[in-house]
């Protein structure tokens, strides 16, 4: 009997300490702190420290690998994120699901540092620029070895005319692979038309025997090591590759390509809108944007940073694409469920072939 009583008491103690513990920490948390959600390696850590120093706002920082992973973690509600940095189509999806809060962009002191061009671009996924602030952007193009490719490369055609059989690396990602074929055929990369997608599929199936491998990040190292002659690759990776191997060049094909844009947005959980706006404004400030640019080396939408670049960097297609090079480029948008299903099916066919 005595034993039972003691164990009941102990269990009670544990329960109470549990409950009281959670009450305390929750009140402490809501004040003057922001929880950020970002891709890995996608901000200079000093910038976060500096923000805390200047404003006294504590920052909790979380990282994820893909937009899909971010979405899942956000939706699970386990952690209440205040600000999120994610990609174009994911922002569109979040807006459509009413997960975001409007930002008062006009009250931001440094909003004009972001070139109007990029605000317009961002408006394609966020009409009226109400929910998101552009952070970094880039393109998908061809990285090739100038010593081994004699002809000038300016079109996706080089991937499809069978001359470089066994020397081509494609992206191991559904949308990135199909957009190459779709753009080459002259269609929109956001197409929902089944016959256009099937046409792209035929093209990719024919190309498959020429493809050395479907890779993601490893593509860069393969080209640097000259194990392959050309790869479909993102501009940020291409810039790094050119640093290692001066014989490499990056080009955005004239038929156009994908232009991706990562932006910051404020989630519906955010209770401290002032602090969130302060942070967004801080990111647009010239010296901070410069720091992040030096750390990440992707294309920046920040005019102040672009102006201060060296002439050599300014003429680098991977870093600052020329105006007309991106003229035919498109942002990838959210797809309907049917199209996603169809593309998944086609992709399986392609990989299984």
């Amino acid at each position: 009997m005595k034993k039972r009583l003691i164990s009941a008491l102990l269990a009670g103690c544990v329960l109470i300490s549990f409950l009281s513990g959670c009450g305390k920490s929750q009140t402490k948390e809501s004040k003057n702190s922001l929880t950020l959600f970002n891709y890995g390696e996608y901000i200079d850590p000093d910038v976060l420290d500096q923000f805390t120093e200047e404003t006294g706002i504590e920052i909790k920082y979380e990282e994820a690998l893909t937009p899909e992973e971010m979405y899942t973690k956000y939706k699970s509600g386990a952690i209440k994120y205040d600000l999120m940095c994610t990609s174009d189509y994911m922002i569109q999806k979040l807006i459509s699901e009413e997960e975001l809060q409007k930002i008062d962009i006009n009250s931001m002191q440094y909003k004009d540092n972001i070139d109007k061009k990029y605000w317009d671009l961002s408006a394609e996924i966020d009409p009226g620029n109400q929910y998101s602030v552009p952070y970094f952007w880039g393109t998908l193009g061809i990285l090739y070895n100038t010593k081994k490719v004699k002809e000038p490369v300016d079109s996706w055609e080089v991937l499809f005319h069978h001359e470089y059989s066994g020397e081509i690396i494609m992206q191991n990602s559904i949308r990135d692979s199909y957009l190459v074929a779709l753009k080459y055929l002259g269609y929109s990369l956001n197409t929902e038309n089944e016959s256009e997608l099937r046409e792209a599929q035929d093209l990719l199936l024919k190309q498959k025997k020429d493809v050395q491998a479907y890779l993601v990040d490893e593509a860069r190292d393969e080209i640097v090591a000259e194990n392959a002659i050309m790869a479909v690759i993102y501009s940020g990776e291409a810039y790094l590759a050119e640093e290692y191997n001066p014989d490499l060049a990056y080009v955005i094909p004239k038929e156009g390509s994908n232009l991706w844009l990562d932006s910051w947005c404020v989630t519906k959980y955010c209770e401290n809108m002032d602090a969130a706006q302060q942070f967004l404004d801080f990111l647009c400030r010239a010296d901070i944007a410069q720091k992040n640019f030096d750390y990440i080396y992707y294309s920046t939408p920040n005019k102040a940073v672009i102006d201060s670049l060296s002439e050599e960097d300014k003429s680098n297609e991977a870093l600052v694409p020329a105006e007309d090079a991106t003229a035919n480029c498109e942002i990838s948008k959210m797809q309907s469920a049917e199209t996603t299903k169809l593309m998944n099916m086609l992709w399986k066919e392609l990989k299984a072939e």
Binding site: L19, G21, Y42, P45, K60, A78, V224, A225, L240, N245
Partner: protein, 263 residues
């Protein structure tokens, strides 16, 4: 002749196994001294990655979180597990089997299931943070400790404990002086097992950690997007060397002690 061939084949086999096990680690160690960021270009010898590693507050914080987490969770799990094992061993046959089966389930269960289940539970009762990860780690560590301690209890000679009680030792005194020393090797094995399990874990940590809490595994994971940085090779090299030293110590210190005793 046949013996010779047999001998050669068995050595060759072992050699191949060791080769495939250790070559990747060796390549990583070499890369940690490579001054080029690329995995395929040798840019000369450097210690820069070790320098930047130690000056990066992010990495150092993740490292200290990992160590503190592994150490505390292992200690707490060892205490709970040892006491639990003793309790279970004193049960009647039927209960004994049922409880032991229940403690084995978390070990066999997929990490991801445990992780998600714990996350759902934590979200309901407390904010996610270091505390939630700690509780999660203790939870999955306890079965390993029980697993290590249980056989020792079975081997233990209960008569010595009873003799001590007969001779006037109270139960606590007899436990500390008689039972614990006999279980010590099992308890230590359980502790180290729990320590490494906690250091290794990714899935459960990933689901139960709060914002801003990172262990080495979750930090490295989030950095894969832009390619693994050479600092990570340096860090892994250090961890490998550390584990290697511990292994040496565990294997050789008892032998040296024995040698001394024999004299």
């Amino acid at each position: 002749m046949v013996d010779k061939i047999k001998n050669f084949l068995s050595r060759f086999y072992i050699g191949i196994i060791l080769f495939f096990l250790y070559v990747p680690i060796f390549v990583m160690i070499v890369l940690s001294f490579n001054s080029s960021r690329s995995r395929v270009i040798w840019g000369g010898f450097t210690l820069d990655w070790y320098r930047t590693l130690f000056s990066s507050s992010e990495v150092m914080q993740a490292l200290s979180t990992t160590m503190i987490l592994a150490f505390t969770s292992a200690i707490i799990a060892t205490v709970i597990g040892t006491v639990g094992a003793i309790g279970i061993s004193a049960m009647r046959e039927r209960n004994y089997k049922i409880v032991l089966a229940f403690t084995n389930i978390p070990m066999l269960n997929a990490d991801i299931v445990t992780g998600i289940a714990l996350m759902l539970w934590f979200v309901r009762f407390m904010p996610l943070g270091f505390g939630s990860v700690l509780i999660a780690h203790i939870t999955f560590n306890i079965p390993y400790v029980i697993l290590c301690v249980m056989p020792k209890i079975k081997q233990m000679n209960l008569s010595i404990y009873e003799a001590a009680r007969d001779l006037g030792a109270n139960s606590i005194y007899a436990f500390v002086k008689i039972t614990l020393p006999q279980l010590m090797s099992g308890i230590m094995a359980g502790f180290f097992m729990a320590f490494t399990m906690s250091m290794d874990d990714f899935a459960i940590t990933y689901f139960t950690k709060g914002a801003g809490v990172n262990t080495l595994s979750t930090m490295i994971y989030s950095q894969i997007r832009k390619g693994i940085k050479p600092e990570m090779y340096a860090l892994s090299t250090i961890i490998f060397a550390f584990v290697f030293l511990i292994l040496l110590a565990v294997n050789y210190v008892p032998k040296m002690k024995n040698a001394r005793k024999c004299k």
